[in-house]
């Protein structure tokens, strides 16, 4: 049992347990919770957040953060929507999402890494710029009733498995392989632990940092393809709470805020727990307006518990770690 826990991860086991327990509680409180339809809804609602969370995990790994992820998803969604409206083939429109995301990721990386601006400040500024961009691109109205081509494409089955599941599994595996089996992952964690030492060890620090931001942007763009396919509309406030939810899920998953330790599985379980709680609370009659409050409290409780138990010193504020987190991994 202990060997299993160590292999699987204590935090991950705790999260899985949390999912099961809250699932049981909600299925007692609401007869609609444990239905196949509802569980499918939770899974579908988790997809965008899972993809964005993976990118955010990498950013946390280098001691960075991106609070503009929701607006990157929004801009990419508008691009996809316009292409679909213009009658472009769904497969091409779906590709436009990740491409737009990658491009925006390059901009973010440029501003943070080469401009030497703390990631939180730079991405907060970009959040404002992108939000205005969304207003402008939408021109005061929603994109709604988009063609179903993209929806059908992602719902199509290859050997019985929906394309959407394949794409998500592929994205997760790609990030997992990159982190666990290539030098990129080792470099990422080395930078998060100590940028100065990573540089002395001959790691191309900037290249890895840029890569993390660009990958995160690309994953936001991919999430946009799923968003458009699922909802077939793009509203003004698109992605308003995604940044908080992604940060909360990543922190829940045991990734260190100050860099140097990440868990992709933890992030995935954190995303599922978050969406499960949101869905369950809605079913037992808590208005959806309270969702950001619940997410914020969950984030603070997780961090507070870690700080009080003192078992995860990485999460605590160390001078060197602050430097890394603050400069957004610069210099």
């Amino acid at each position: 049992m202990r060997a299993f826990l160590q292999r699987f991860g204590e935090r991950e086991a705790l999260l899985a347990l949390g999912c099961i327990v809250s699932g049981l509680v909600f299925s007692i409180l609401s007869p609609y919770f444990a239905t196949a339809d509802n569980l499918l809804t939770i899974a579908r609602n988790s997809t965008e957040l899972l993809l964005i969370g993976l990118g955010m995990t990498l950013l946390f790994g280098i001691g960075g953060i991106d609070v503009s992820v929701g607006t990157v998803l929004g801009l990419a969604s508008i691009g996809i929507g316009r292409l679909l409206e213009a009658g472009v083939a769904p497969a091409l429109a779906a590709l436009a999402g990740p491409i737009a995301g990658l491009a925006l990721g390059v901009i973010t990386a440029f501003v943070v890494i080469f401009g030497r601006i703390p990631a939180i400040v730079a991405t907060l500024g970009l959040l404002g710029v992108y939000r205005a961009g969304i207003f402008l691109a939408l021109g005061g109205s929603w994109l709604s009733g988009l063609p179903v081509g993209l929806t059908n494409l992602l719902a199509a089955r290859i050997v019985g498995v929906p394309v959407s599941v394949l794409v998500i599994a592929l994205a997760y595996c790609a990030v997992f392989v990159a982190v666990r089996l290539t030098p990129f992952g080792a470099h990422l964690l080395a930078i998060g632990n100590s940028e100065a030492r990573a540089r002395l060890a001959g790691i191309g620090v900037r290249r890895v940092q840029v890569a993390a931001f660009v990958i995160s942007g690309g994953l936001c763009g991919l999430a946009a393809s799923f968003y458009v396919a699922t909802y077939r509309n793009v509203e003004m406030t698109i992605g308003a709470t995604l940044a908080l939810e992604a940060v909360a899920a990543v922190v829940l998953g045991g990734t260190a805020v100050t860099g140097g330790r990440i868990s992709l599985l933890g992030t995935a379980l954190g995303v599922i727990l978050l969406r499960l709680l949101q869905n369950g609370l809605l079913l037992v009659g808590v208005p959806s307006l309270w969702q950001p409050v619940v997410t914020g409290i969950l984030l603070l409780l997780t961090l507070g518990a870690e700080a009080l138990s003192g078992r995860l010193p990485l999460q605590r504020l160390r001078p060197s770690a602050v430097g890394a987190a603050w400069r957004g991994g610069v210099r």
């Binding site: 500024g125 959040l127 710029v129 307006l289 950001p292 409050v293 997410t295 409290i297 603070l300």
Partner: protein
């Protein structure tokens, strides 16, 4: 340690002149005492919040307060709900300040006692505060501000709005005196400049930092009071985008993001420049949705210019 006069401020001053000149050419009618009053009226809330943001950042230790807007919104909503639930209307000013202080101290507790990274801790409380403000009211504005506040909130002497004259300006002067003429001020710059040395020489770093977050909350409470007295009602989204604008104002005002650098009067100047810019654009019929984008652009460009100059000097 000396307050630096930011080259950025000069750039912004130039932009300001351009906008004012543009306004003079395109819409001469906008030049009136009432415009000055309006600009200062709008500036008051931002100035108060930006002062708190500046204090937190100067204290260093990766200090930042993302939750300022949330604190303003929640203080407004809670104070109005309490007054409407039967508390005497005369207690509204005290309620606003006390609520702001309490919310700020929560941030301070998370940062100094639990040692959480400020940006994550205040990102969390930002959503908790602003979410609670909206959820408690269902997004509806709260009416019922006691009448005695309105003459103060809307009054002006010689074109200067009373809240600006009697609240924002004295508080900036007080903060300036605190930073430059008291040992607390020395401590704040010292710990912002080098926290480890500050601890070694016995500066009560955690207590000062807790006080800074408390001050940021109290100033948000002041901003809440001004908004109530001015608008005559409590809007649960009043603090929207304040985190971005206040951060922009502090950066423009020459506060160093790593702490220990900058003074408060640069911040006040930056606030006035920013609000004039926004008002000018509004007068020129530039859509309001641009404003958040323009503020964000200014923030990024200003920091880029600042850092590029630094990089060129050092290399």
């Amino acid at each position: 340690m000396t307050p630096r006069v930011s080259p950025i401020l000069a750039i912004l001053g130039l932009m300001w002149v351009v906008v004012v000149a543009g306004l003079a050419v395109l819409k001469p009618a906008a030049f009136a005492l009432s415009t000055v009053t309006a600009v200062l009226q709008f500036s008051t809330i931002l100035a108060l919040v930006a002062l708190g943001q500046a204090l937190v950042i100067v204290c260093g230790g990766a200090g930042i307060d993302i939750s300022v807007g949330g604190m303003v919104s929640l203080a407004v909503v809670l104070a109005m709900l309490l007054v409407n639930a039967g508390l005497p209307g005369a207690s509204l000013p005290v309620l606003c300040l006390a609520l702001g202080l309490a919310l700020g101290l929560v941030n301070g507790f998370l940062v100094t006692r639990l040692k959480l990274l400020p940006l994550i801790a205040t990102l969390g409380t930002f959503y908790v505060y602003s979410g609670t403000a909206v959820a408690l009211t269902g997004g509806a504005a709260q009416a019922g501000v006691p009448g005695f506040l309105l003459p103060w909130g809307r009054g002006a002497v010689g074109g200067l709005p009373l809240p600006f004259l009697t609240l924002a300006l004295p508080l900036f002067v007080a903060a300036g005196v605190l930073l430059h003429a008291t040992s607390w001020g020395r401590w704040i710059y010292g710990m912002g400049f080098n926290e480890r040395s500050a601890r070694l020489v016995g500066i009560p770093v955690d207590r000062v930092r807790l006080a800074a977050y408390g001050a940021s909350g109290t100033l948000a409470g002041c901003a809440a009071l001004v908004s109530l007295a001015w608008l005559g009602g409590g809007r649960p989204n009043i603090g929207q985008n304040l985190e971005l604008t206040s951060l922009t104002a502090t950066m423009l005002g020459g506060i160093g993001i790593f702490g220990g650098k900058g003074g408060v009067f640069g911040v006040l100047a930056a606030v006035l420049l920013l609000v004039t810019l926004q008002t000018g654009l509004l007068e020129l019929n530039v859509n309001t949705v641009w404003q958040v984008g323009i503020v964000g652009t200014i923030l990024v460009i200003v920091l880029l210019i600042d850092n590029l100059a630094l990089i060129r000097r050092t290399s």
